[in-house]
């Protein structure tokens, strides 16, 4: 009785965890991981340039447009 209750609870928790992970994956990564990776890389480089005293606010919008263009090109092929 206790074992089956524990087993059900574990299954439900695992399902919930998988659903939670899927939600965040869809929210952040979506259908093309390269765009999220480009954004993350652009923000890191922006921060590095900023700490080196270089004006870098222009980098993320430029990287975002370039990554979006590359993603659209791949899809339209």
């Amino acid at each position: 009785m206790t074992v089956s209750w524990l087993h059900r609870a574990a299954t439900l928790s695992l399902r919930g965890l998988v659903a939670f992970g899927k939600f965040w994956y869809g929210f952040i990564i979506g259908d093309d991981w390269t765009v999220a990776a480009a954004v993350a890389a652009a923000l890191v480089v922006t921060w590095l340039l900023h700490t080196a005293g270089v004006t870098a606010w222009w980098l993320p919008p430029l990287a975002a447009v370039a990554a979006t263009g590359a993603s659209l090109r791949r899809i339209s092929r």
Partner: protein, 247 residues
């Protein structure tokens, strides 16, 4: 006694933040449905109220930079997803899809909570609400007119929130493909702005940079739509073979 200078300054400063909050809520609500969006916005307000009650004047100690970076980065990548979808839809179908959202739209659940809409509204309201609260605490403390500053922020919320509610009908008349493109553009612009601000970098023109960012993403979207349409009109190798076979 109301201090007119503090009231006007706080009202305007808070209004800028609340406009951003209302744009996100109206845009997300129109595209993904209102129930989950409004529940998300209400959840953001409840957490904000709890933070205000718990922290009071020490709310300025909340690491707003880290919050901006996290919320901004998430909005940034999510906004780009919608921008990409909007570009592809407009390139394929033009500005179609007037009226209420279809149940088959994207990954919107037909029943239960739409957690994407909930999260977008929640984050927008919590971050902007926190910024408004910090404005109230800062201006109120500096001028020793805390009640006036709080009243001004509340007035800004009522005025801008009311305008947003009135604008809802007009926004719903925008073709769906165009709206997804527009909201994707705005989420990307807000996300870029907050993420970079969260890194401790100041934008030239402060909050006005959001308008420039939105214009930048709209220009890029227009260029990509044109390119996708040209690409779609080009005959494929199979198309070129058909007339020869017919002969």
């Amino acid at each position: 006694m109301i201090n007119p200078a503090v009231f006007a300054t706080t009202f305007l400063a808070a209004a800028v933040e609340i406009v951003e909050m209302v744009i996100i809520v109206v845009g997300v609500g129109t595209i993904r449905g209102w129930r989950s969006t409004l529940v998300g916005a209400a959840s953001g307000l409840v957490i904000l109220a709890a933070l205000i009650l718990a922290l009071g004047m020490t709310l300025t100690l909340v690491p707003i930079g880290v919050l901006r970076l996290v919320v901004g980065s998430l909005l940034f990548v999510f906004g780009l997803q919608w921008l990409r979808k909007g570009i592809r839809r407009v390139a394929a179908n033009g500005f179609r899809g007037m009226g209420a959202r279809a149940a088959t739209d994207d990954d919107i659940p037909t029943h239960g909570m739409d957690w994407t809409a909930w999260l977008l509204a929640f984050k927008g309201v919590l971050l902007e609400g926190l910024e408004v609260t910090i404005i109230v605490v800062t201006f109120g403390a500096a001028a020793r007119a805390f009640p006036t500053a709080a009243l001004a922020a509340a007035a800004a919320l009522v005025v801008i929130g009311g305008a947003g509610a009135l604008a809802r009908r007009a926004v719903e008349r925008i073709p769906r493909s165009a709206l997804q493109l527009l909201v994707g553009t705005l989420l990307s612009a807000f996300g870029t702005f907050w993420a970079v601000e969260g890194l401790g970098i100041a934008w030239p023109g402060a909050d006005l940079a959001i308008i420039a960012l939105a214009a930048w993403y709209i220009l890029a979207a227009a260029a990509y739509i044109g390119r996708l349409r040209r690409h779609a009109r080009q005959p494929t190798p199979q198309d070129k073979l058909v007339p020869q076979k017919a002969r």
